[in-house]
């Protein structure tokens, strides 16, 4: 098989053959109709999802501006810019968090309450809300809640909040375009699987058996 040709065909969709429109029902037409009104989800939605997600997106903002600023500071402490990639806010992680708490209401109280806990703690320690503290003060607080095993007993609520922030930030970042590139995930594109690259097999002192080489599909070039 001509590899370049097949990949080109796949890219245009031609390889899958034509689309058949016979037997089209009202259900199908309806689905199409609503679909065009939905710009945010760039993927197939069922009719029920279109209804659900329209409601979801019509909700008011869950976090106040103050809370969003705090989330942004925290997210960028958790995932800062480094020599490989940008920061959490470069990857729009705060926006992801604002969306996900609407979609997963179980995160709402732990986050909103946690943000308040953080501000109250900072108010007592430094006389200011977290976002208005100096960078040095912010890091001091974060150090006190970022390490579950060595954090003090009276900081456990802060630890739980920070762990949730870390989880959401990490997940939001590494599922963004910047994060996926940072990670080096190399898939989600047409290819031909020819097995583990030879240099990797060598690194792990592994080899395909004669049987595997004979019975498995392989591609040249």
């Amino acid at each position: 098989m001509d590899r370049r040709k097949s990949l080109k065909l796949i890219a245009t969709g031609a390889i899958a053959g034509g689309t058949i429109a016979t037997g089209c029902t009202t259900g199908e037409e309806k689905a199409k109709e609503v679909k065009s009104a939905e710009p945010v989800f760039a993927l197939d939605r069922s009719p029920d999802e279109l209804v659900y997600e329209k409601k979801l997106l019509a909700q008011e903002k869950f976090f106040s501006e103050h809370e969003m600023s705090t989330i942004t500071v925290l997210a960028d402490i958790i995932i800062p810019k480094d020599e490989v990639s940008g920061s959490a806010s470069d990857a729009k992680v705060p926006e992801f968090i604002e969306f996900i708490v609407k979609d997963m209401p179980q995160h709402q109280v732990p986050l909103k309450g946690g943000l308040r806990w953080l501000d109250m703690y900072c108010l007592k320690q430094y006389g200011k809300a977290f976002k208005d503290c100096s960078s040095q003060q912010q890091i001091e607080v974060v150090d006190a809640i970022a390490y579950p095993n060595k954090a003090k007993a009276d900081m456990k609520q802060g630890v739980a909040f920070f762990s949730l922030m870390r989880n959401l930030t990490v997940t939001g970042f590494y599922t963004s375009e910047i994060g996926v590139k940072d990670l080096g995930y190399a898939g989600n594109r047409p290819t031909q699987w020819n097995g583990v690259p030879p240099e990797v097999l060598k690194q792990y002192n592994l080899a395909y058996t004669e049987k595997e080489l004979n019975e498995c599909v392989s591609f040249s070039g």
Binding site: E49, S163, V170, T175
Partner: protein, 580 residues
């Protein structure tokens, strides 16, 4: 509602098929190509994989980054509409019993997202009672189904290898893909534990099969359905849309079947259904009625189709409809393979699923549970999605990262290093085993509850027996040994014990339900004869998992396809002989 009336579809069909998954799709394909006029009723919306696309999307194309919702429980990119609970369509359970009921609602049903694991039953799987005295023998044997398996292999396409195993029969296979890196580690570790590992058998086209379909381009996303190349089996891509080309099929979507209609002689005349869009009631007539609505929905339809001639529900003189309900067993665990920390990046998406698996390798006569299981494996550098590296604080304090000891948790550049370091080191495995179908495990009509269409709903009454629990224990012990042999660290699923049935899945959870409309030679003890034809109503057929006497430790789709093809050709034959 105002003018309440029942509308009759004027067109008379040769066959009315309820359901559009593997069983319904195959029946439609065979009958339409034989020139019969077919009406297919589907409870969910139309769906065309060529237009409804989630394949090759990036995680950020979903604002929830591929997380699941109630409407898409397998994640935002998964191709199946439906779920564990449907708005306005309840089901109930006897207290103290369990059943999780997955209901797909779309053209093609769950074939749009299934695992493509396509295993033939072996000769022993049809005759289990003769071997161990439990359950029931099928009225047919492997030799009778083999020609149909062969034809399904050739028509739909499957990769695998001929291994000459007695109860995991050879087939007509395309070439399998080479194992991935973690699969090589697993293969070595399992082999050390005495567990055979062979190339998996998935209905994915690694080579060209025909002009209508392309070949796999290894994106690993069969769960999203192959919109781009039609290189995996789904009922819409492979059966329904090709069958529509004949001009012999009308698909009625968003149509919830209410009951099978019968005449004074007790024969089926058609199906009544409610149009979910405008709540209008319809009737459609056919010379034969073919149920393929899923094991439990088909049983529900039959039990709800009462008449003077069929007071106990249709095809239920035997009183077995709804009984012998059973699912595959399941148990799983997973962890990390430290050898794979800091691994080199490359595209190892492969096909959508495992490249190797383990068919059942032991003799149950030497064990304390009667039936076997197969093992499925996973791991490696998949596409990140919601939940990625959730709980990294449980990893990054335990292992040296680039030679440095770190405190668990943390943040900043160091945390970014950890995320890169641990990526792609995950590995896991799950067993899928055979349960014994029992009369005492059943679904029935709840006498007090109806759904929003006024259709009486199912009430479930299912419990695992000791046989399944002991099997799950054996799974866990085997998995631990395999993990240990390759130096993997178990991070979940390793702490099960008798208190939680060794992590055994809840009945229904594996979504392989079967047995509710079983076939048999004795009309007193079975609903269907060996041609999937109702003993009590000769122009009524059931071609989904309902007809199964037992379901082996093999995922049931390939057998549904083979039996539906077989039943459909029997229908054509009987029509020619004017018996139908």
């Amino acid at each position: 509602m105002g003018d309440f009336q029942i509308k009759k579809q004027p067109k008379k069909y040769d066959a009315v098929i309820v359901g559009s998954g593997a069983g319904g799709g195959m029946a439609a394909y065979i009958l339409a190509h034989a020139g019969l006029k077919v009406c297919m009723i589907e409870a969910g919306p139309m769906y065309d994989p060529q237009k409804n696309v989630t394949q090759l999307k990036n995680p950020w194309d979903s604002p929830r980054r591929g997380a699941s919702t109630k409407l898409r429980p397998f994640g935002d990119f998964d191709a199946c509409y439906g779920g564990w609970s449907l708005e306005g369509e309840p089901y109930t359970k006897e207290s103290g019993t369990q059943w999780d009921w997955w209901r797909a609602r779309m053209l093609g049903g769950r074939t749009n997202h299934w695992g493509r694991i396509s295993l033939r039953f072996g000769p022993r799987d049809f005759k289990r009672k003769s071997i161990d005295g439990l359950g029931e023998d099928w009225p047919i044997g492997y030799e009778e189904v083999k020609p149909f398996y062969d034809r399904v292999d050739k028509m739909i396409g499957i990769f695998g290898t001929n291994e000459g195993l007695e109860n995991d029969p050879d087939g007509i296979f395309l070439k399998p893909p080479k194992p991935r890196l973690h699969e090589l580690f697993i293969k070595n570790a399992a082999t050390q534990a005495g567990v055979r590992v062979i190339p998996s058998r998935l209905s994915i086209l690694t080579q060209k099969l025909n002009d209508d379909r392309g070949v796999c381009f290894f994106c690993g996303q069969c769960g999203r359905n192959c919109s781009m190349a039609k290189a995996d089996f789904s009922s819409p891509n492979v059966l329904i849309y090709p069958a529509l080309k004949t001009g012999n099929i009308d698909v009625v979507a968003n149509a919830m079947a209410r009951e099978v209609l019968t005449n004074k002689e007790g024969l089926a005349t058609g199906v009544s259904y409610v149009n979910k869009d405008d709540m209008t009631e319809y009737q459609v007539e056919g010379r034969v009625v073919i149920l393929a609505a899923s094991a439990c929905e088909s049983a529900r339809l039959l039990l709800n189709s009462k008449s003077t001639r069929h007071p106990n529900g249709l095809a239920n003189n035997s009183n077995v409809v709804g009984k012998y309900l059973h699912d595959s067993t399941g148990a799983a665990l997973g962890g990390v393979l430290p050898q794979l920390f800091d691994r080199k990046r490359y595209n190892e998406d492969g096909v959508g699923g495992m490249h190797v698996y383990s068919p059942w390798w032991l003799d149950n006569k030497k064990l304390d549970f009667p039936r076997g299981y197969h093992i499925e494996y996973w791991g490696g550098m998949g596409q990140p999605s919601y939940g990625f590296n959730w709980g990294i604080e449980s990893l990054n304090g335990k292992y040296l990262v680039k030679g440095k000891k770190k405190e668990a948790g943390g943040y900043g550049a160091s945390l970014k290093e950890d995320n890169r370091y641990f990526y792609g080191a995950g590995v896991g495995m799950a067993g899928r085993g055979e349960a014994i179908p029992l009369e005492s495990n059943y679904c029935e009509i709840d006498p007090t509850v109806v759904d929003k269409y006024g259709i009486p709903v199912l009430k479930f009454n299912v419990k695992w027996s000791d046989n399944e629990i002991k099997q799950a224990k054996h799974m866990k012990e085997t998995f631990k040994e395999i993990m240990h042999n390759m130096g993997a660290v178990i991070t979940w699923g390793g702490d099960d014990d008798e208190k939680n049935n060794w992590g055994l899945s809840r009945p229904g959870e594996i979504i392989h339900e079967a047995g509710t409309v079983r076939m048999g030679n004795d009309p007193r003890r079975s609903a269907l004869n060996k041609w999937s034809q109702a003993h009590d109503c000769k122009n009524l057929f059931c071609v989904d998992g309902g007809q199964f006497v037992s379901q082996a430790d093999k995922n049931i789709t390939w057998t549904i396809l083979a039996l539906s093809m077989r039943a459909s050709e029997y229908i054509i034959d009987e029509m020619k002989k004017q018996n139908l």
